[in-house]
Amino acid sequence: MTMSESGGTYIDNFPAEARVVRSALYSSFLALALGGLFGIIQTLHRTDIYRFIESDMYYTVLTAHGVFLVVTFTIFFLVGVFTWAVTTSLDRGVEDIRFTWLWYGLMTIGTVMAAAAILAGFTDSIDMSADVLFTFYAPLQAHWLFYLGLVVFVVGTWLAGADWFRSWWAWKQENPDERIPLPTFMVLTTMLMWYIATIGIAVSILVFLLPWSLGIIDSVNPTLTRTLFWFWGHPVVYFWLLPAYMMWYVMLPKISGGKLFSDPLARVVFILFLLLSTPVGIHHQYLDPGIAEGFKFIAMTNTMFLLLPSLLTAFTVVASMEHGARQRGGTGYFGWLKALPWRDPVFAGMALAGLMFAAGGFSGMINAGMNINYLVHNTLWVPGHFHLTVGTASALTFMAATYWLLPQLTGKALWNRSVALVQVVLWFLGMTFMSNSMHRAGLLGIPRRTAEPQYQGFEFEAGVGSVAELDFQLALGGALLAISIVLFLANVVGTAFNGRSDDLPANEFAETLSGPEDSPQVLDNLKLWTAIAVVLVILAYSFPLMSIVDRGGLYGPDISPFPVSIETLSLLAFTLEQYTTAAIATTGEFVQTTLTGVIR
């Protein structure tokens, strides 16, 4: 494993790159600040504790909350931390810093365009709005600037990926016989997944929504654009999560005082994500008419297999922490837990994030169940679930990682470690209240995405406690989270104003107990894994997409390029049947071979 020979901080070794990474992180935190502000506004509004906006404006707030947090905050953080990971683990700067600034610039411009379209919704004086929420399902329509902004942003991320591939390629020429360093491996597999996933949203926006918002085409097929959204919408959750996973693999073991348990298994995990993240999106459409049950079933099966890499991660992370704790003198079955550095905000934040993610995993299994989903779909249960995943597993890990990264990127010591510790604990507490109440409210049928879940004609009946109690918990949790964000931002700003420090730790990541030399070379064959991933996506999506176009027309019900005829339908039914069995068989076989491969 290569590591910075010089032993200095990141900014010492890569001053130019440090500036880009810093800019990316600051952009990310700005989005977090705005998103958090909107978060608390909508929490108080929904629960009717404090309302100062009109209810129809709630959806402008909610759109901003969703977009700023799960697009801007997460992805800007991702590009920052990935740049850090690639340059650190390859121990070389980017090939051309101007190119790096180019993609950062595109992402920023894209964000500003989309944000302008969203925020203009707050005033009537500008004839522009994008109150479409972050899912922008047609026939709801946003101003074209919103769609164009998303396009520019995504193109920026594509170029960022290209930048990292370029670094790897250059490194490979000089180190032909070496295994890809683990952090770089993780970055590259994640980006391959991203390239495949973004095809969905690129087609949806460029072929349908953007021309439609510009008046070039009259109508769209709502099921088609919705399906294309989820083609991207599920893998994007792994785009939020994988940078956190990466930190759990390459940072957490070191902070715990030990080494990563297994490098090969970490590679297997990321390959599984590359393969399985995309062919599952239809699990968000279990309740959609016009999509055959067979297609939903395939998505469900794939989704369940997608649990595997997360379960493996849980094991590796805990095992690595235990190793660290024992290095620090911990003993006993559970006694070792006490030996962990709980007072270190970096460790505490990541460990608590991991714990909450386990809870989120359980509610996720419920969501994935095709028929149980009917009970919780679009209820508050769902935000309850993803505030644990993206809202904590990712967000809290990012914040904890920031406490380590920021000194590396600025050369300045963290402003206040105690505030940092309080901050991560507050997040944990706040999220416990908020997500608990959201899950329970969801089981009562209280819908998500609604300004006033207080209806005229009926009331929600709480089995345990009362709706008022749930509202109170939600508001309390939301308030703690908002305070937590303020403390986090205070630390970021405080650190920026600190003086340079000389005794910062060197820029390093975790070593491994079992290194890449213990794993088969084929794990590093990115072309192979990409090819398989593409085949799986084609298998999972070609028939559903054909059938959707067949039913509703490419550009909506009016213009129907594929007239529905009996022959195509029965042919389709037949092929579907064939394909279902084949797909299940191949998935099974595939998992079996990888597993035996892994176990051997």
Binding site: A319, G369, N378, P447, F458, P520, S547, R551, G597
Partner: protein, 265 residues
């Protein structure tokens, strides 16, 4: 590849969990026959629902002994019909479509929950054993009034449920030498015959007629009374069939044609 024993155990357990989850759900779908919203229904033109005989008049229909079909239209920001009324101890198939954007049709506290996409018809069947009142909400964001989109589903006790509709047409003004007529039509939407009594009252006069309205049909009758018997002036009338009532007022005048026509004589 070197793998720790514990890791192998964990891997095995993970696979068992995954397969078990899939098996449970497959059992739910295939074994228990819990059905899902799917592509069974034909597509529909969302701009021409008024030309579709299922959705031009959103309603509940009686289609078999205890079987009903509900045709529901979702639009910003309401459901039609509202409330939806069905009897207890029945099996109801809902057909729901949208005229504009994507909505949902979600009956609170049940697993009747579906997306409603323009151009598609969602169908799902549910059994209602007990009477009760349910809220229906739209849980898919559909625009600025999304939070006001609600409806009701009433499951009424079986013996209180009927699909009778009473309509009466009566004259406003009748000449004293003429007859006052009430055209009564009783529609029976149920498949079974409806045995009932039409009771009418016009001024002091009362009428009663026992009728059998055949299933899925309309019975029409005319009630007449000599205007002279009522005498000049305003007379209230009312017609009742079971719990339904229609009423109005008729004015008997000296001579209808005569108004301002005195010169003719």
């Amino acid at each position: 590849m070197k793998i720790h024993t514990y890791e192998k155990l964990w891997l095995g357990a993970a696979m068992v969990l995954i397969v078990a989850l899939i098996a449970t759900i497959t059992y739910g779908a295939v074994g228990l026959g819990i059905s899902m919203v799917d592509d069974e229904e034909e597509t529909i033109d969302p701009d021409a629902l008024d030309e579709d005989d299922r959705f031009n008049d959103p309603r509940v229909e009686h289609v078999g002994e205890n079987e009903y079909e509900a045709y529901v239209v979702a639009r910003t920001f309401m459901y039609q019909p509202d409330p939806i009324e069905v009897p207890a101890n029945s099996e109801v198939t809902f057909y729901v479509t949208s005229t504009d954007v994507i909505h949902s049709f979600s009956v609170v506290g049940t697993n009747i929950n579906t997306m409603v996409i323009p151009g598609e018809v969602s169908s799902m069947t549910a059994e209602f054993d007990e009477p009760g009142e349910y809220g229906v909400v739209c849980n898919e964001y559909c625009g600025s009034g999304h939070h006001t989109m609600e409806g009701q589903l009433h499951v009424v006790p079986e013996d209180e449920f009927d699909m009778t509709e009473l309509e009466v047409e009566g004259d406003d003004e009748v000449a004293e030498d003429d007859e006052v007529t009430l055209n009564v039509s009783v529609e029976n939407g149920m498949l079974d015959d409806l045995e009932t009594t039409i009771e009418a009252e016009i001024g002091e006069e009362t009428f009663e007629e026992d009728v059998t309205v055949e299933g899925d049909s309309t019975y029409e009758t005319t009630i007449t009374v000599d205007a002279a018997d009522l005498g000049e002036g305003d007379h209230d009338w009312s017609v009742t069939v079971d719990d339904y009532e229609d009423s109005g007022t008729v004015t008997v005048v000296d001579d209808l044609e005569d108004d301002g026509g005195d010169d003719d004589e």
